[in-house]
Subunit: 398 residues, 2 copies
């Protein structure tokens, strides 16, 4: 009649974030939702593309026998083949349906991968700032998250990763386009990382996996493309979802793409399917598997996000707030401005201060990067433009 | 570049079952699927009720804004309220939406519960035979599955459970209607169990949770009803799904119902929602949440399963094979007949022998009950009737 100690501890830690959301809700009740500049949550507000609704309607009308029953835990074979074609183009390697495991979103994909590869005490290296859930995902499966700093421009710091590598390193986890910075890692950096991991493998006999969490792959700006991950390093797996590119986060649909050149490939594929089953996912939701297989050429209107990004940058420029120029995703990661004569202020304090001006953001500490604040621009552009005055006043009074 | 040792070990163990399925597939290729009596898999073959297709079509047409986005990790509030009403009737307690956590099927629900309640080394008691995945689910979260035998009639053996209780007991897990035996535990037995757990709690200061896995609640025969679980014991949680009553196993939709009288209720509910998030489910699939909320009064044609059950029993009677009379679910758990003058034969051998007669079943050893075999009757009644001759020959030649 008491819950697990680790979960109880996590609940206490999570209460700060919950409190933040509750305060945001209260602000909206008090002032009206349209008067609160809520940039706190990365919940895509763009509707799924028209083709999604058409595909869903067609499948609902078609009403195919057996289509809601169990399939192979790995996913429907025809769905995996369709996805493998597109993933092959994106990843620069020749994938078949055998290399695709359908998943319950990217979060499900990452848990399945970590369950499959981690021995107790194994380490996963990640570059800070990072999506806060990685720590819990790793701990779920007996692993330990080891964090290194990224470079000042938020590119990967290969030397820092080199120092963190050890006998217990099972994997390096990257996220590109990156939450919260919007950074896209260039191909040369990935190749340096690959060379480092190969060298480490030769030295220690244990070549780490390279895991790429890339649900934002198609949300990129100004002609940027996300380089292929599987093409640069053999022991690699991609975890992704349709949460961002099709705006379907609530439907929990994604997949794992496994490098065909990975060592002990049959064990790896078998392990991923086994983990999918015993973690209780069993398989990715059947209907949504069939929907996304028909939409490999579709995505949401990325130009809408691009326009918001530009509008937000304009707002920030007027205040002098420094930011990391985002190449993808839908976040602006900003430096907390100097606080009057006191020098740099804390990100928690700055977020509280912004709230007085009805602006909601997330402190960088939540991404293990104090002194910064994340604003999500998956909200209407008019709200972004309307926030200019509030931002100006907030910074003036800071 | 090597997977986790525990997963590699599990893959080796699973290869027997995989081999069995592969052999079944080969038999079907060789003899034609319609000539193979495949009673091995519990994949409901009945289509979802007409009302399911109507609800799905209406929701697809309606195309409501934001309906595929994130909601509270616990699930849509209106969905949980609708489900709470029905669960209150079934469980004999007054549940609100606050006591319901939407899940990725019952397997997802069980993993979320175990993650929430298990400290490292904590024990979960289960009565053999049992659904083989419970062991992996418990191990996922650092727990240990402790098994006790059930009584000869496959009812719970309360004295055996009493002996297994200890300081490390976090929970007792039951499954009713039961896979593989079809047993429904009577209310008196549940009350005895509740009294035992209360007494243990008084003695040790740690009152174990009682967990009920009950996806087959609505698949019952001959006027049997499944007694409420939440009404008999306060520290209780129900894990269930729509996989069987609506034939939607591939859609991964279910829920957890939490006893409103459970101790430290806020922690328990908060922990379950936290576990839902960090295990990577994040939330139950959005569209299916909304579909099942409209179908609280619907179920598949249970009389079809009842007719198959009767037909299968008739087939078995003619061979003299002894079986546990199923009160629910869609399995017949049968005793391996005496083998000529050699006495009782092994269940693995018997399953291999049946295969020669094109009959596929699952050895009881897979449910930790050697000497028995499980046949699933979620297949067409004509196939069941047609198997009579094969069963007769198989037993004669055993």
């Amino acid at each position: 009649m008491a819950i697990a100690k680790a979960v109880k501890g996590a609940l206490a830690g999570a209460s700060m974030i919950r409190k933040m959301f509750e305060e945001g809700s209260e602000l909206k009740k008090k002032h009206g939702a349209e008067h609160v500049f809520d940039f706190s949550i990365g919940n895509p507000d763009l509707e799924p593309p028209r083709a999604f609704h058409e595909a869903l309607l067609r499948l609902a009308e078609e009403d195919k026998k057996g289509s809601h029953g169990y399939m192979s835990n790995q996913g429907f074979p025809d769905v995996r083949e369709a996805i493998a074609k597109k993933a092959s183009r994106e990843q620069g390697v020749d994938l078949s349906g055998a290399h695709i495991i359908m998943s319950v979103g990217a979060a499900g994909a990452l848990n399945v991968i970590l369950k499959t590869i981690l021995n107790p005490g194994d380490e996963v290296i990640v570059s800070a700032p990072y999506f806060m859930e990685y720590s819990a995902y790793t701990a779920n499966h007996g692993g330990v998250l080891v964090t290194v700093d990224s470079k000042d421009d938020f590119n990967l710091d290969i030397a820092a990763i080199a120092k963190a590598l050890g006998e217990k390193t099972a994997a390096v986890l990257i996220n590109s386009p990156h939450n919260p910075t919007g950074r896209v890692y260039p191909r040369e950096t990935l190749e340096e990382l690959a060379a480092l991991l190969r060298e480490h493998g030769k030295k220690t006999g244990r070549k780490p996996y390279l895991l790429s969490d890339e649900p934002y792959r198609e949300i990129v700006y100004g002609g940027v493309t996300v380089p292929p991950l599987l093409a640069v390093y053999e022991e690699s797996l991609v975890a992704t979802s349709y949460s961002k590119n099709l705006s379907l986060p609530g439907e929990r649909i994604g997949y794992i793409a496994v490098n065909p050149k990975a060592g002990e490939l049959d064990d790896l594929l078998g392990g991923l399917v086994y983990a999918t089953r015993v973690l209780g996912y069993v398989n990715a939701p059947a209907l949504m598997q069939r929907v996304v297989a028909r939409l490999t050429e579709e995505k949401v209107a990325v130009d809408v996000y691009a326009a918001r990004r530009d509008a937000f940058i304009e707002v920030l420029r007027k205040t002098g707030i420094e930011y990391a120029p985002p190449e993808g995703a839908f976040y602006l990661f900003c430096k907390v401005p100097r606080r009057g004569k006191d020098g740099p202020g804390g990100d928690g304090d700055f977020v509280q201060h912004l709230k007085k001006h009805l602006i909601l953001g997330v402190p960088g500490s939540s991404f293990k990067k104090p002194g910064w604040v994340r604003f999500a621009y998956c909200v209407d552009e008019t709200l972004i433009r309307a926030s200019a005055e509030a931002f100006k006043n907030a910074v003036a009074q800071w």
